[in-house]
């Protein structure tokens, strides 16, 4: 059902690169008879199936759940991370949003901290290392008190949830002119700083995660806001403001500690 739109044909310019050591180039492909009800990745599946038939290697792109939640997929379509539709991962983008005869340019995320592995696939493990640096609450299994022993106000819980919905796809980094991971990092810092359970490690967490972000080679944030605009989960820019505040606070407190000054 859906729209009674006709099938469409598209021209694709796709970045092909064998591995990180080999230079890449754009190659052109035709996507024929694409159903408007198909997803963008299903369109690429069909192109790939025809490549395999010709014994050519398919276009490699990361993908898994195809429901917009695992964060695996993502590449640039005509310069937009995840394509033209707001708040949508490329796996949830459907072909009814494209017109017959259009030319689409597909490129991988481009950022120093995301080395290209092959074609449209990049290495985003830098994001895992930011989490590893402190994106957690240190509680061993079995240490928890009753879940309702600590009420959390609904606005705080809801806000924490909104920040926690980040899927770690890296679109924010890819669309930022500085390739900054500020939106990703700040979403986790904000999520945990809003909860009572997150208070004990609050300052150390901000220091460690921000410092890891720098170590990985992500750029600085200059508050342009492209990250939030291209985020498929529409994570708010306010997270970055929160991170800056948390980081500043932690830095000031840390100085006192380092100089041995106990103000009390």
């Amino acid at each position: 059902m859906g729209n009674a739109k006709n099938n469409i044909n598209l021209h694709l310019k796709v970045w092909r690169q064998k591995n990180n050591q080999t230079p890449g180039e754009f190659k052109t492909y035709e996507a024929k008879e694409v159903s408007p009800d198909a997803s963008f990745l299903e369109m690429l599946d069909a192109v790939n199936e025809s490549l395999v038939k010709k014994n050519e290697e398919p276009i490699l792109f990361d993908h898994d759940c195809r429901e917009g939640i695992c964060g695996s997929c993502g590449f640039m379509i005509n310069g937009n991370a995840h394509g033209p539709q707001k708040g949508t991962t490329v796996c949830q983008l459907h072909m009814r949003h494209f017109n017959d005869g259009e030319t689409l340019t597909l490129e991988p995320w481009r950022a120093q901290a995301f080395p290209i592995l092959k074609d449209l696939t990049v290495d985003r493990t830098a994001l895992d290392r930011i989490i590893k640096a402190g994106g957690y609450i240190s509680v061993n299994t079995g240490n928890a008190q009753d879940a309702n022993a600590l009420p959390i106000s609904k606005p705080n819980a809801d806000e924490a949830f909104m920040s926690a919905t980040c899927i770690g796809c890296g679109a924010c980094v890819a669309s930022c002119k500085n390739a900054s991971a500020a939106l990703f990092t700040s979403a986790k810092i904000t999520h945990l700083s809003l909860l009572p359970q997150g208070q004990v490690e609050r300052e150390q967490r901000a220091l460690d995660m921000v410092s890891q972000m720098d170590v990985e080679g992500f750029g600085a944030c200059t508050s342009t806001g492209t990250c939030s605009a291209s985020c498929p989960k529409e994570i708010s820019l306010i997270n970055i403001a929160t991170m800056n505040r948390e980081f500043l606070k932690a830095t000031l407190n840390k100085k006192e500690e380092a100089s041995g000054g106990d103000m009390a």
């Binding site: 990745l41 290697e57 695996s72 609450i137 299994t141 879940a147 819980a157 809801d158 926690a164």
Partner: protein, 639 residues
């Protein structure tokens, strides 16, 4: 038939078994824990929670996942919620009631002792998740909120909007990453397990393909945990993610782990219908939607009117009609079958399509659009994106689709398989859901296994077992590596004319038509022949471009499809032998008024299949008798 399956259920009354067992199990002292290594395959809810908890205890853990990051595991996609017997709602819930509902929901084909333990630790899971900072939904007073799910008359489901799986997974993932930071867990990403290594009859390691470099790697350990998920992708189209595969479990099966109840699969009633030939997967619409949505079809066969033009008195709210006490919250197997009946009778939407309506009109009128958006906003948005239709304005079109597999590797009460030292957790094992899983119980089971069961039972195994030193130069490792390399070479050198994808699709069609929502002797028999032919064709006519080195998704897919084909045959055999209907296994020959008719005389048992060395040899069926001492065997009714 000589092997005796010992479930090792502890003695005593059902409510004291786990408590006593925990005390009776041997412990490993803290200084010795760091001398033991454990491999964990898969980093979804079960794997990540197991890796984190074992790391916290001090074991040396190696965790492997096929994804670039553990946070991508398919648990992330679970939408609706997680059950726990907290009774925060004061509506009559208890550990015993959750136990009872789960045994009944599974149509009396699960082990009572396991299910009771699951219900018992369910409360700890919620505590643990909240302590980790998982932002579960809350009421204005700051306390946790609950919703209802199918097969229960109490509200015991905790949730985080429509992203409960994501939030719980990120909780387990962050706990595991903390252990990575502390050095107790080593993380290996983009790695696929292609064989299990058994030395002196015990699981001692794995053969892994590094998906980035193509290298075949060997890893040793004192115990191996498989938490590699379910096998719904045997149907090609399912709600599972693209990389979900049976491969890790199947390789273990071929090394001696029995595969239990492979025919128990869950067809979820509310998924977005198939749109066309090129469809790659199906998308679930959470069961939680049935809290506020009403399922209906037109009373008139072949009715082509738009949903909004069909007047109230011409709509058949069939779940409410057939099951007045559970209504729209009838369990999944039951709701799916009823949808199929309506469509088969010609009542499908738009003049007979394979779909029924899920309508929110009444709830929107009662609660307002805002409230509905707050509860299900992301699901409505997802529906809109996929179909191009606005579910606030017109009812959703939904149809059943493969979603979860209750079958899996056989495990005893300790979650240990028939290979000593090989433990299986989460969806990969068969243990807790019988022939049908209730909604919001998968997250519960995965986390129960990983956080609260394995940390005890693995310790007990290590303390009781004499483990000789092994290294990767041991013959068993060399042999395993060699086998894997030979198989991969064969895929690459066949140079036939068909892609792995096309054969996967063909398998899926055979399975869905003959081993899906309805099954019968004739269909299953013909399916077995077709699958055997497909297997032959696969090995003679597969085309895998590219090379063994480096990233090669076609090579990965070929291996997974080869295993699905073998599994598909076993599922059909299992379904053929089980001459009864129970839960999701519906043999059309065995029914009363369209409801499943069990045969407790003959089939009140688990069927566990043993590999006999070759896909050309029929597998041996073993049984484990099920006894029900607490919940009386009865006809399951939701009427």
């Amino acid at each position: 038939m000589s092997v005796k399956l010992d479930s090792k259920i502890p003695s005593g009354s059902v409510d004291t078994k786990w408590k006593n067992h925990k005390f009776n199990m041997k412990l490993v002292n803290p200084a010795n824990k760091r001398k033991h290594s454990v491999i964990v395959i898969g980093t979804g809810l079960a794997g990540a929670s197991a890796a984190a908890s074992l790391g916290e205890l001090g074991y040396k853990v190696k965790a492997f996942c096929v994804h670039e990051s553990p946070r991508r595991a398919h648990s992330v996609a679970a939408q609706g919620g997680i059950n726990a017997a907290k009774n925060y709602q004061n509506d009559g819930d208890s550990v015993y009631r959750l136990f009872y509902d789960t045994v009944k929901g599974g149509d009396f084909r699960a082990r009572e002792a396991n299910v009771y333990r699951l219900a018992e630790v369910s409360v700890n899971i919620i505590d643990q998740a909240v302590a980790q900072g998982v932002p579960l939904a809350r009421e204005y007073g700051g306390l946790l909120s609950n919703r209802s799910f199918g097969g229960a008359q109490v509200s015991r489901t905790f949730y985080a909007r429509g992203q409960t799986g994501q939030q719980l997974l990120l909780g387990a993932y962050s706990s595991m990453m903390r252990q990575v930071d502390l050095g107790t867990v080593e993380l290996y990403t983009r790695r696929e397990m292609l064989d299990l290594v058994v030395v002196d009859g015990k699981a001692r390691g794995v053969i892994i393909r590094n998906l980035l470099t193509g290298e075949i790697e060997s890893y040793t350990a004192d115990a191996v945990v498989l938490a590699s998920g379910g096998y719904s992708n045997v149907f090609y189209l399912s709600t599972n993610a693209m990389a979900c595969a049976v491969t890790a479990a199947w390789k273990a099966h071929k090394k001696g782990a029995f595969f239990a109840n492979p025919c128990y699969t869950q067809i979820h009633p509310t998924c977005i219908p198939v749109h066309g030939e090129n469809q790659s997967k199906l998308t679930l619409m959470s069961e939680s939607l049935r809290n506020d949505g009403r399922v209906w079809v037109s009373k008139i066969k072949g009715d082509k009117r738009h949903a909004n033009e069909i007047p109230e008195n011409e709509r058949d709210y069939y779940l409410e009609r057939v099951y007045p006490s559970f209504g729209n919250l009838a369990p999944r197997d039951v709701a799916s079958r009823q949808a199929k009946y309506r469509v088969d009778e010609g009542h499908g939407v738009n003049g007979g399509e394979q779909a029924v309506y899920l309508d929110f009109k009444d709830s929107i009128n009662r609660l307002g659009e805002d409230k509905i958006a707050e509860r299900y906003g992301n699901l409505f948005q997802m529906y809109d994106k996929i179909t191009g239709e606005n579910p606030y304005k017109m009812p959703m079109r939904i149809y059943p689709a493969p979603h979860y597999t209750m079958g899996g590797l056989w495990v005893d009460y300790n979650l240990e398989s028939t290979i000593p030292g090989l433990f299986v957790a989460g969806e990969a094992n068969f243990s807790d859901h019988g022939a049908n899983r209730l909604g919001a119980s998968a997250l519960m089971q995965g986390l129960a296994d990983g956080y609260f069961v394995l940390p005890y039972t693995i310790g007990n195994y290590l303390a009781n077992t004499n483990l000789a030193k092994v290294d990767v130069n041991n013959d068993a490792f060399k042999h395993g590596k060699n086998e894997v390399e030979t198989e991969l070479k064969k895929f690459l050198s066949t140079k036939g004319s068909r892609s792995a994808e096309s054969m996967h699709k063909e398998l899926g069609r055979i399975m869905w038509d003959n081993c899906g929502m309805g099954r019968n002797k004739e269909g299953l028999t013909s399916a077995i022949t077709k699958i055997q032919k497909l297997r032959e064709e696969f090995h003679n006519n597969i085309n895998v471009p590219g090379e063994a080195n480096g990233l090669n998704p076609e090579l990965e897919k070929a291996g997974r499809v080869a295993d699905f084909i073998e599994l598909g045959e076993l599922m059909c055999r299992d379904a053929l032998v089980r001459e009864e209907s129970c839960g999701g296994h519906f043999r059309e020959e065995h029914q009363v008024d369209g409801e499943a008719k069990r045969d407790d005389e003959k089939f009140c048992h688990v069927a566990a299949w043993e590999w006999n060395g070759s896909a050309n040899k029929e597998q041996t069926r073993h049984t484990e008798q099920l006894t029900f001492e607490n919940v009386k065997l009865a006809t399951r009714s939701y009427k």
